[in-house]
């Protein structure tokens, strides 16, 4: 029997099962968030749906014991792979005191957890890119063998901070993966009105780094380029720009109505390439996942998400006056 794609990449059956499970966990948490939002229980959701494959492909290419990530708001897959739990995410959705990201101070999707080397993020897009470069610089100074990851949307790749950070990383040959998750829209604005280049990865050469564009619905393809990018970084050869192309399956956020600017047909068409479905099919075709196994995973995740939701819903808010804490070190 011919070697399977994931085996060629050095991934075991268990690895790809883990990848699938993390993708599915991200999707299921996300779906639950929408239900909670529509039920009036949480004020806001911003989704990873459609980008799970890209995120998990990238996360598994990193060393999750020592590398650092500067995720953007859709990177639920990344932070789960880096150690955040369903409960952590739900606590953030409900803005409760125990939320490890911010103690309920920030909206969901504003990730951060020092323990798991997830840099704290904000809302203004692309500011995290220089941060990841700074961590890479610091790691290099200390002779640490770390790679850093920063992600952002294709619209956000037009911010000055992307350019300045990419150039800095290029000049200093820092081990950074700059990952653009191109989901074809920036809120309502299609990629054709955001970018004049054919591919976001065309920008790489301007910073003296390689650039790749890969299918963002294929976790193995993303894994492959990110693994090579991480290896390059560790070898001291500098940064890499990776563009993953997929589609934003939900409206921009729970505050958006995407019917105003894109057709239902277009969305339905994109759903056919949904990585949750296509990767499950791959695993089954290759005998890695049986129907029973899938069922088992689905149930495990459902339980996790249920428990997390219940816990978070019942957890306490931080005390009102705790809003005064931590402006400065105490």
């Amino acid at each position: 029997m011919a070697e399977k794609r994931h085996e060629k990449l050095g991934l075991s059956d268990q690895d790809v099962l883990d990848m699938f499970e993390t993708m599915l966990l991200a999707r299921k948490i996300d779906e639950r968030m929408w239900l909670l939002n529509r039920a009036g229980k949480i004020p806001f959701v911003i989704s990873c749906q459609g980008q799970e494959a890209a995120q998990i492909g990238a996360a598994f290419a990193l060393d999750r014991e020592k590398d650092w990530v500067a995720p953007y708001y859709r990177d639920l897959g990344i932070v789960l792979a880096f150690g955040m739990t369903a409960k952590d995410i739900m606590l953030s959705g409900f803005a409760k005191a125990e939320d490890p990201n911010s103690g309920g101070r920030q909206m969901p999707g504003h990730f951060g957890q020092r323990e798991n080397r997830i840099l704290t993020g904000s809302s203004p897009v692309t500011t995290q890119v220089p941060h990841a470069v700074g961590v890479a610089l610091a790691g290099k100074m200390d002779g640490e063998d770390i790679v850093t990851y920063a992600s952002f949307g294709e619209g956000s790749s037009n911010q000055g901070d992307f350019h300045e950070a990419a150039n800095f990383a290029g000049v200093h040959k820092l081990p950074v993966i700059l990952m653009c998750e191109n989901n074809k829209y920036a809120i309502s604005v299609p990629v054709s009105k955001q970018l004049a280049c054919e591919k976001v990865s065309d920008r790489a050469i301007g910073y003296g780094m390689p650039g790749y564009t890969v299918d963002g619905n294929d976790p193995l393809a993303v894994y492959e380029v990110c693994k090579e990018a991480a290896d390059r970084g560790r070898r001291g050869e500098g940064p890499t720009l990776v563009e993953t192309v997929s589609y934003r399956l939900t409206p921009h956020s729970s505050d958006d109505d995407d019917r105003a600017y894109r057709s239902r047909e277009e969305v339905e068409e994109a759903k056919k390439k949904d990585s949750i479905i296509t990767f499950a099919a791959y695993l089954k075709e290759n005998g890695v996942m049986s129907d029973e196994k899938e069922q088992e995973i689905q149930e495990r995740i459902k339980k996790l998400v249920d428990e997390a939701t219940e816990y978070a819903e019942n957890a306490d808010y931080a005390a009102p006056e705790s809003a005064m804490n931590y402006v400065y070190g105490e």
């Binding site: 909206m107 809302s123 955001q194």
Partner: protein, 327 residues
């Protein structure tokens, strides 16, 4: 007169100015097909087309900078920053460029750009969708900063801003967008930039404020009236440069002054208002100048109890007004 909402007044002003002057155009993120994430530019794309209602790439410094270039050429761009919080990448263009173009060129060039942005809290927007950012710009000569409180003022002042030959930052309270309604003439009118407005005449205490807090103060004033306390309320409307005469007059009138801002207290617009009063009418005062403001923490948290703790509301305003009256 028709009663419309604060945000409808924004849209109406934009539409009328675009109809009136072909050099007026709108640019920003999602302002075109989507009509803006708050729908402030609703219908403009359909009416004026994509050449004058421009969905820009996601890059605020370019939105400001391209607008400034067009303004130097002779256009009257109205740039939208999707949230006031996201004006930060454009600060260099606004402070180093727009504000200084007339001065540095010795009046050879000028820069009639209007930059609109929704600001303010109380909408579960958390740290980065709730901020008041006016204080950052309120020490920069060359800029004007307008922050209206009512639909009537919105329409008249936004039109004035667009017709103004200098750069105007026009901050709209996002919580007021749908909450605040009022009578607005259908016909064309402008209101003077740089002039504060007495929103209520009173004798016992003076409240000076702007934006959403004007409404909180008016509500509280009604209640206080029942207890025989008469409050004079001055709406700054333009927060930079300030209307010194109006401030001095309002403060002197009652001798007891409460300054309210939703922004963090230290270094806010109200610092300058207090400084003007203490420079010009110190001896008319019967009480220390009291400031009611957000706490000095970075911004409003997301979780409802903490957001409420931070945000100015009618109760906090009423309490502060009573305390001052009793001083």
């Amino acid at each position: 007169m028709p009663v419309i909402s604060y945000i409808q007044a924004v849209t109406q002003a934009l539409r009328e100015e675009m109809q009136r002057d072909k050099d007026v155009f709108v640019l920003g993120e999602d302002v075109g097909v989507r009509g803006g994430v708050f729908r402030a530019t609703d219908g403009l794309y359909e009416e004026f087309g994509e050449a004058r209602v421009i969905d820009t790439p996601l890059a605020e410094s370019a939105i400001a900078g391209v607008g400034i270039g067009a303004a130097m050429y002779g256009k009257r761009p109205v740039a939208e920053m999707q949230f006031a919080d996201f004006i930060m990448p454009a600060v260099n263009q606004i402070i180093s460029e727009a504000a200084k173009i007339r001065y540095r060129s010795n009046n050879d060039f000028y820069c009639p750009i209007t930059i609109r942005a929704p600001y303010g809290g109380g909408v579960h927007g958390a740290l980065y969708h709730s901020q008041s950012v006016e204080a950052i710009f309120a020490s920069v000569p060359g800029l004007k900063i307008v922050m209206p409180s009512t639909p009537y003022d919105v329409k008249g002042l936004l039109k004035a801003a667009i017709r103004d030959d200098d750069p105007v930052l026009f901050f709209e309270h996002k919580r007021a967008y749908r909450l605040i309604k009022g009578e607005v003439p259908e016909e064309d009118y402008t209101l003077p930039i740089g002039k504060a407005d007495v929103k209520r005449e009173g004798e016992d205490i003076t409240v000076i404020t702007y934006g959403l807090s004007v409404h909180f103060a008016l509500q509280a004033a009604e209640k206080l009236e029942k207890d025989g306390i008469s409050a004079h309320i001055l709406d700054l409307r333009t927060v930079y440069p300030l209307d010194k005469d109006a401030i001095i007059e309002a403060a002197s009138k009652t001798g007891k002054v409460l300054l309210i801002t939703e922004d963090n207290k230290e270094g806010s617009i109200m610092s300058e208002v207090a400084a003007i009063i203490s420079e010009h009418c110190l001896f008319d005062l019967d009480a220390p100048i009291k400031r009611l403001a957000g706490p000095d923490v970075p911004a409003m948290p997301y979780s409802p109890p903490m957001e409420k703790y931070f945000m100015i509301n009618p109760d906090k305003v009423e309490k502060a007004m009573r305390e001052l009256a009793e001083f």
